[in-house]
Symmetry: C2
């Protein structure tokens, strides 16, 4: 038994690999590599240079070992490594992988290389993969594995146990056994354990659970994840429109998807693209990914600038007005980000529903109003103390901050809901829209209030 | 077979339940409730009023049904419902739940009620729960289930199968079988399927996997999640310091934890607390939770205001300076949020490592510098065009925006890494610190540059 390799221990292993590599101690390195779990090796590869990666990948000779390892690797490193392999040996590696990993890898290849690799694979394997490649990569069909255990509903428990013993190693998740009729229609489900607990003569149809929850092949992976998580499933079957079972999605794949989707949402909310591996990409690619969102915020700032310059006359008369600009735009921006994050995450976890969002919106607006009044009052009093007890200036900044916070709360709450209704991912488009609009409207309201209330 | 209940279908069910409730059609309602999956009923309860929840919970008479349902319910609604139950009947409900769900529920109860309930439970059950309650709620010990299948290493396959058949239904996740020696030390693991695939006379010790990865009872749940996800486990064993197996953490619980931790990170990053159920809480609680973070940003704004007023003389001479304030603070704030989000998420997913963060920091700074130069140049040119081709004003705003963006990139990257090293959750403290500091330093640099370059 051993403890997990995370943190320090991982780095010790990384250092060992690097040291042996630099010493060109090939046979010692081969031995060490054999002992490292593919998942740990994948982690180590994140920290190596391109050159090191290629050389060390070369040492992993056996296709099976390479297959296990590639299944665990980050996509960008995976593509980097296999792009130099001849199609024939790549096909050999792919043949050792499980079907869903095969599909995953082939889906990422450039079309030409994919065709070449498929030509080199066994005809039946290639046909199976090509069928699966037709599904959208982020649908249940795209993530399912066709390696499941299906048993005929006419079998007895004893016959079923024999069948399970005969079936190939391929069925990667032998937790649930699916029971089908002659036409492969899904009829029921039972666990391997139930087989063991029942007498051999019992027919499967009498012990199986018939109320099976299934997803269709087009179901979005995020929805599949919600179902698996809600019902605490180890796997969920995927069926076509007639109810014929096509594959299963297992909970370990769902776990990866949930982590990846959360990371994508984090990145998208701050306009850093949706590529989870952005940190592994070159500097210029990072710059270009982050630029559009910043450009939107830059344009908002420039618009706010033109608003301010149109009030130059008033500003010259009461120069103190300039000092409050950062707090008014800042508070609007921050409460807007709070509101949009709460809404976007609420939509993602199902706590906010687009069709019955009324109560949620009303509550958010009340929260925004109370916070707006509080900070407005606070700033108003401060302005009054700070600037010769001028009650009018205090009133202007108090009203301005309150208005700005209420507007951005409304935008931060409503924009994600509207975007989701229009089938646009709210994580992408909400941020720049809310901050930009808040900046412009905030200063506009502020200076308009100043102009009329201070009689400038 | 049926499709999942999400979205429209869920709302149809909710409407049915509500209609029957309002009509006081108690027997029809009882029938409908019986057919609803506990997980779906939990979802429906989110949308009911407190009154409706209590009345409908009353209709669910059987302790078993109540237990299943409570295990699926949001914590805050769960507490609301059980607070009115007498300890004795609550103990009856708890006895029907699996051990980890029992611990979960009892952990949330006020101490007095917990003691009363424990007194009403069977002595052995109470002792088991009390032992588990000693572990931190978010450690492996706190989330593990003691219901696992452990087999003696001396058994043969045939004997093991008999043992599995005799064991109670309690072992909730009979996917892995753990092999232990006389002292309960974890020796190996095998799957139920392996038992079926091997001859009855084979000793377990010859077919088990001896290289078992285990976690210790103190391991943080986030780390447990990383391990389960990295190795694609269905469950991971939890051992004490001597290697004695205490329980298992199953992947379905890990899935819930990953979703919850992601939600908490989202909320914390925008200063909305760490209570995932904040949206279910009253308005004032929402206000109070969001207030401190906004107060920090308000203080930053006020500090920026005092900086600006200290440059009042210069501002009066070149009033155009006021217009650029929002774009300088805004760009700094936005690129700072991008950087801190990338860093915080990178730390959470293990892509950024606090001990070897050098390359990452250097890369982020280069990205920040390029973006700073780009937007500085863009704004400089705009200022030059806009304000009478004054090259000096253009230079001031260009340099100011570039400096402000570079500072906030550095803060957004370094602050989370430093906080993590100090063992403070970076998601909580990064936001206000970065925006506040950026606001103040941004305007300070801007006006200082203006003062010296424009010779004011």
């Amino acid at each position: 038994m051993r403890r997990e390799l995370i943190g320090t221990e991982g780095f010790l292993l990384l250092d060992t690999v690097r040291r042996l590599y630099r010493r060109k101690a090939r046979s010692a390195l081969t031995k060490v590599l054999k002992k490292i779990h593919p998942a740990e090796l994948a982690w180590i590869f994140r920290h190596l240079t391109t050159r090191e990666r290629h050389d060390i990948f070369d040492i992993l000779k056996e296709p099976e070992r390479r297959g296990e390892f590639l299944s665990e690797l980050d996509d960008s490193i995976k593509l980097e490594l296999i792009s130099t392999l001849p199609p024939k040996s790549l096909a050999g590696v792919i043949e050792t992988m499980s079907t869903d990993d095969r599909v995953d890898l082939l889906d990422d290849l450039p079309e030409e290389l994919r065709t070449q690799v498929l030509e080199q694979m066994k005809r039946e394997d290639a046909a199976e993969v090509e069928e699966l490649l037709q599904y959208e990569a982020d649908s249940a069909g795209g993530i399912m594995s066709p390696d499941f255990l299906a048993l005929d509903e006419d079998l007895t428990v004893g016959e079923a146990i024999k069948k399970v013993q005969q079936l190939s190693e391929a069925a990667e998740m032998a937790f649930y056994l699916y029971v089908v009729d002659k036409a492969n229609l899904l009829r029921g489900v039972l666990s391997l354990r139930q087989l063991l607990m029942n007498p051999a003569s019992q027919p499967l149809s009498s012990i199986m659970e018939t109320d099976v929850i299934a997803v269709s092949m087009e179901t979005d992976q995020e929805e599949v994840a919600q179902i698996v998580s809600r019902y605490n499933f180890m796997a969920v079957p995927v069926v076509d429109h007639e109810g014929i079972i096509l594959g299963i999605v297992t909970v370990d794949d769902i776990l990866d998807i949930v982590r990846e989707e959360a990371t994508e949402d984090f990145l998208q909310m701050v306009g850093a693209g949706k590529d989870r591996e952005i940190l592994l990409k070159p500097v210029m690619q990072n710059v270009l990914t982050r630029l559009p969102w910043l450009l939107a915020s830059w344009l908002g700032g420039v618009l706010a600038m033109t608003v301010i310059s149109s009030f130059q006359v008033e500003l010259v008369k009461v120069i103190a007005l300039a000092g409050f600009i950062p707090v008014i735009t800042g508070m609007g921006g921050n409460i807007g980000t709070q509101s949009s994050t709460l809404t976007i995450r609420g939509l993602a976890t199902g706590r906010v529903n687009i069709n019955q969002a009324g109560t949620f919106i009303a509550k958010q607006l009340r929260v925004g109003l109370i916070l707006g009044l509080f900070f407005g009052l606070l700033l108003g009093v401060l302005a009054w103390v700070f600037y010769d007890h001028d009650l009018r200036l205090g009133t202007v900044v108090a009203l301005a901050i309150c208005a700005s916070m209420l507007i951005s709360t409304s935008l931060g709450t409503l924009v994600p809901i509207i975007l989701r209704r229009l089938d646009i991912d709210p994580a992408i488009a909400t941020g720049p829209f809310v901050t930009t609009t808040t900046d412009v409207l905030g200063v506009l309201i502020y200076f308009s209030l100043a102009k009329s209330l201070l009689s400038l």
